[in-house]
């Protein structure tokens, strides 16, 4: 696959009414971080560190962009789901048919609104794994 422009990233989250809302048009940065525990089991006499595979997995989705206080827009959506169960859908290459789609149950546990006098009002939010696995499929 050719190198991918990030300008088409697709981001969807369920609002407090469980309706999927696209926030791509307000976002300009997204980072999906995956991690897996790999307990260190090195013992005396080993030359290199040894680790055990198949540990607990985790993920975190960080999103930031341009804030909007109008009804049903970014502030209303994120404030409404703070601490609550939601679903996130993330498409690094966009949401056209066949593009990779990550989707999972999540908790929004961090939401910030920031303003510096010379810039635009911005937001950032962090979604953490809530229940079940992250699925990796394709957009249809």
């Amino acid at each position: 696959m050719a190198k991918i422009s990030a300008r088409n990233v697709s981001l969807g989250i369920d609002d407090s009414a469980a309706a999927c809302q696209s926030i791509s048009g307000r976002s300009n940065t997204a980072t999906m971080s995956f991690s897996a525990e790999a307990p260190d089991v090195s013992a005396f006499g080993t030359t290199y560190r040894e680790r055990v595979p198949d540990g607990l997995k985790d993920w975190e989705l960080s999103v930031s962009g341009l804030w909007d206080g109008v009804a049903s827009q970014i502030d209303s959506i994120l404030f409404g789901i703070l601490g609550a169960s939601t679903r996130v859908a993330y498409g690094p290459a966009g949401s056209t048919s066949g593009c990779t789609k990550y989707e999972a149950s999540a908790v929004c546990n961090d939401y910030s609104v920031e303003g510096s006098v010379e810039g635009a009002v911005t937001f950032s939010a962090i979604f953490a794994a809530r229940s079940g696995s992250m699925t990796r499929t394709t957009w249809t």
């Binding site: 206080g69 908790v107 929004c108 609104v113 006098v117 010379e118 953490a128």
Partner: protein, 244 residues
């Protein structure tokens, strides 16, 4: 709504407008999501509906004049106060947050080549209120006036919180009073909250009320408190919303 410039952020510390001295602000909301992963799970699991928290960080230019930044934060350190944060400004309809905060950190900084600056961190001490401004304006005539109505869309019965902030008041012994009214048709309004008349500036009042109508507006009145009133003038801000 278009993208929002941050140059119009309105920050109200108690009944004071700090926007003219601040140039950077961040409201950070967090929710506990306790890890409940157990043996046999593949991916971490977390609980929803955890404890909510928030923190407001403010920075800007120092002012040691009476009623300004230094006096405000010196008085607030360790104490609780009601603050308002309106990222797009505080004119009617614009969204904001009202909050009770404790100032846990206040710093004054000065380097020889620069201006004296301040920074402060305020932590939430009770619920955060998601509000819309009903108006931020100045009145300068004896009598009553209605602000424009705001459509809150949701028409179900619920508890709303109303806030009335008296920022300045000038003239000879004036009083400014306000109430919040609601309407189902944006034509006939009934009063749901009445605030006590204020005769001094830098005050903020809050009141809860039951509401079931989708339109709300503020109504303000300037009156003479004692010996008549000369050249009355008051700047105030009113907002309404609900707790998270």
């Amino acid at each position: 709504m278009g993208k929002v410039t941050a140059r119009n952020v309105k920050l109200f510390g108690g009944g004071r407008n700090l926007s003219g001295r601040a140039n950077s602000s961040t409201l950070s909301l967090t929710a506990e999501a306790t890890d409940v992963s157990a043996y046999g799970t593949d991916t971490r699991e977390r609980l929803q509906d955890g404890l909510l928290d928030y923190e407001l960080s403010v920075a800007g230019w120092m002012d040691v004049s009476a009623c300004q930044v230094d006096e405000l934060f010196s008085d607030l350190l360790g104490a609780s106060a009601r603050w308002g944060y309106y990222p797009a400004g505080a004119t009617a309809c614009l969204a904001g947050k009202e909050m009770n905060v404790v100032c846990g950190d206040y710093s004054s900084e000065g380097a020889v080549e620069g201006a004296a600056t301040f920074s402060a961190t305020l932590s939430g001490s009770s619920a955060l209120f998601d509000v819309n401004s009903l108006g931020y304006t100045t009145v300068s005539a004896i009598g009553s006036s209605n602000l424009g109505s705001v459509d809150f869309t949701a028409a179900c019965a619920h508890t709303v919180w109303n806030f009335f902030r008296v920022l300045t008041i000038a003239g000879s012994t004036p009083e400014i009073a306000a109430c919040i009214q609601e309407s189902t048709d944006d034509a006939t309004f009934t009063t749901i909250s009445v605030f006590t008349a204020a005769s001094t500036a830098n005050q903020v009042f809050a009141a809860s009320a039951a509401s079931s109508a989708r339109y709300r507006r503020g109504r303000v009145a300037i009156a003479a408190s004692a010996n008549g009133v000369v050249s009355p003038c008051a700047t105030f801000q009113i907002s309404s919303g609900s707790a998270k």
